[in-house]
Subunit: 471 residues, 2 copies
Amino acid sequence: MNAILSPSRPKPSEATISDLTTELSRRFGDRVSTSAAIREQHGHTLTWVKNQPPDIVFYARTTEEVSEIVKLCAEKRVPIVPFGTGTSLEGHINAPDGGVCIDLSLMKRIIAVHEEDLDCVVEAGVTRKELNEHLRDKGLFFPIDPGADASIGGMVATRASGTNAVRYGTMKDVVLSLTVVLPTGEIVKTSSRARKSSAGYDLTRLMIGSEGTLGIVTEITLKLNGIPEAISAGICPFPTVKAACDAVILTIQSGIPMARIELLDEVQVKAVNLHSKLDLPESPLLLLEFHGSEAGVQEQAERFGEIAAEFTDKPFVWATKPEERSRLWQARHDAYWAARGLRPGAQSVATDVCVPISRLAECVAETKRDILESGMIAPIVGHVGDGNFHVQPLVNADDPAEVAACEAFVDRLVKRAVAMEGTCTGEHGVGQKKMKYLEIEHGADALNLMRVLKRAMDPHNIMNPGKIVAL
Amino acid sequence: MNAILSPSRPKPSEATISDLTTELSRRFGDRVSTSAAIREQHGHTLTWVKNQPPDIVFYARTTEEVSEIVKLCAEKRVPIVPFGTGTSLEGHINAPDGGVCIDLSLMKRIIAVHEEDLDCVVEAGVTRKELNEHLRDKGLFFPIDPGADASIGGMVATRASGTNAVRYGTMKDVVLSLTVVLPTGEIVKTSSRARKSSAGYDLTRLMIGSEGTLGIVTEITLKLNGIPEAISAGICPFPTVKAACDAVILTIQSGIPMARIELLDEVQVKAVNLHSKLDLPESPLLLLEFHGSEAGVQEQAERFGEIAAEFTDKPFVWATKPEERSRLWQARHDAYWAARGLRPGAQSVATDVCVPISRLAECVAETKRDILESGMIAPIVGHVGDGNFHVQPLVNADDPAEVAACEAFVDRLVKRAVAMEGTCTGEHGVGQKKMKYLEIEHGADALNLMRVLKRAMDPHNIMNPGKIVAL
């Protein structure tokens, strides 16, 4: 491969942006905005990553419109940043070089639900909750659940997963096909609706996780699942995070088809209790969910109970009523906002890593020790069935020493995970903040291969520049 | 994207090959062969695809050796064709431009089995049966089963699947990471051992299904599964293939976690009876397998029985003893050779397509009618839980009219599947014979994107040229 490539696009001039604004406004009227508030809202807003707004925000309604804008921007060498709901966590939607943000939130059509094939076709702006609302009466559901009510397009972009991934996989496993606007403005469909194919390169998975740097996903064909006949959930407290992780390891190894197996450390439990007005025991907890037939769920729960008893003598509480389950999972999903409540006014840092499950207990325990030694408030939650966990330090963003200490902590966390044969991010994605870790994780040659692909598909570096592999 | 690219490599001269042979022989001794028999054995041998042998066969022992040879070939612009067991079906291993075949069958180390993580690391030449033999005592198994005892490297290359895919996925779902020698000779690792990651472009899945055209896979990290506590198998006869397919559709929709659900049409059953000395009822059959706990398997089987009863009044026979199950599945796996017995001396054509399951009954029924009208002998077997089926016409390869009629039949089959939103190949891959269908299936722009990727990674077009996207 060639050595690292240099940028081939100068930052667009004020005149270019001004001309483009005039042209777009003439064509699309009030679906084009340059107001400061709208622009800022389309940069990163959720965590400590600095907000970098685009120059122009355009609300697209169709794939053809996206194609049209991309062609225009390609001609003028203007950067493009696709936007779904803005819930990404690592600076994915920032516009360090300005340019046009293409907001896809108006693209909300559910184009087809093929009940017989257990699949559906949706536009990129449909959110996961909107989709599930639409599907409920058909007895189907879309299982990927990253917590936030993200858009399906955004979830494709970041290769999202979440609480159900241990059973149902991640976005890479549930997407059958994508409609993508390439950096040239060409519209391609990456695959057919067949369940499997060996017909050429896997363009679908090349796009999944590419964070808008190789093209803009406008339509998605998704696998669906039947709503399970029976669902039951439970909470199990453990004396230490290590004991909880050891129980998870044995559960996964024993082949119990867990639907969800989530860890909350005692700091996170405290935050959740405060935020969601619950009275969960303030020790490390596993939140569990089982899907299957009535008999199957019962059997799974009993088996898990036997395993858990080896690692804890605390009571094991079951919630079979839908409203109890909902309350429990809502509490889990509120973890991010609950954590922020532990230090009002502080900025939240949301980071994640993932390790082979045999190293999970060790990795979490070392990280807890590191948090303690650093004197930080940093709750831990995790999709531990996959070896994936999140740490959420709360920092005073105005205190450079605290920020530096947190940066150093994240650095140690990532290097710890990578040293254990893990990854710098299990599901949040690279965005801006994890770019520096790609070489540590993949090595220079593999990272360079990513650059070769980016350069081949986007030679003018207009698609979400400054993310994943900055050219 | 640029328009279709033209070849950038002339066919190597006799002098180049002669020099290369000398150089390789000096370095590697008798692991380099130019004997006609060895060369022919390394071209396509299994079906009607014409044998095109390489100029040189090299038996590699290590990733570093593969890298060394690739560098040498890159410098001299000599084509390279990777070889596992030679069981691919569409001409994948032919060498239309000659060059060096790198045979990986000596790379048989099982480098690690991580029982706690349910994964293992193997060299590319390990076959699936060898791996399962190694794993058996540990209570683990590798589920992907394409019938032939293919090498794991070859299975990665073709994105193989087979009988267990309906439950356990295809190669794209079970590979965690790959070691790949790129067309430059650089060695990269595509991912970590973490169960999931959002750390950059999915190089793993870019390589899976690339059939050696983007690099050579030398090591594979694979997910494993625990051997199920209980397995039971069964046979269910149906009056028509349509009735059998309709039963499959309802079974999949009802969410029964089938491990295997295979269709044999009455022609194939006859062939199997003759070949494997069985007395299966000579009507369309479903062969089934259920994995789970004792109670779970029982429950699945009962539910399937209820569904099947809606579509057939024939008896439903169970095989719970391991030796009965083995005999049944051996018969299924012998389908290819059994079919050849229906017309001794004829050449076998092995082809496959895959459609959304709602179109399966219709697609198979139309194909049966087409076979009848064409006057061919062409048994059908299928991994019908995925909507994937195989047709195996038996033709006199010396009769141009028969060959032309068969080509026309395959053409209709592919177009029928693509028109039903399916794919030209569910699992065999593109090789040489399905290349002409990629544009029909994907469209010119998506195919051109594949060419852009190929050109970026292999600018001199040395990696398995003339396959998938001939530059």
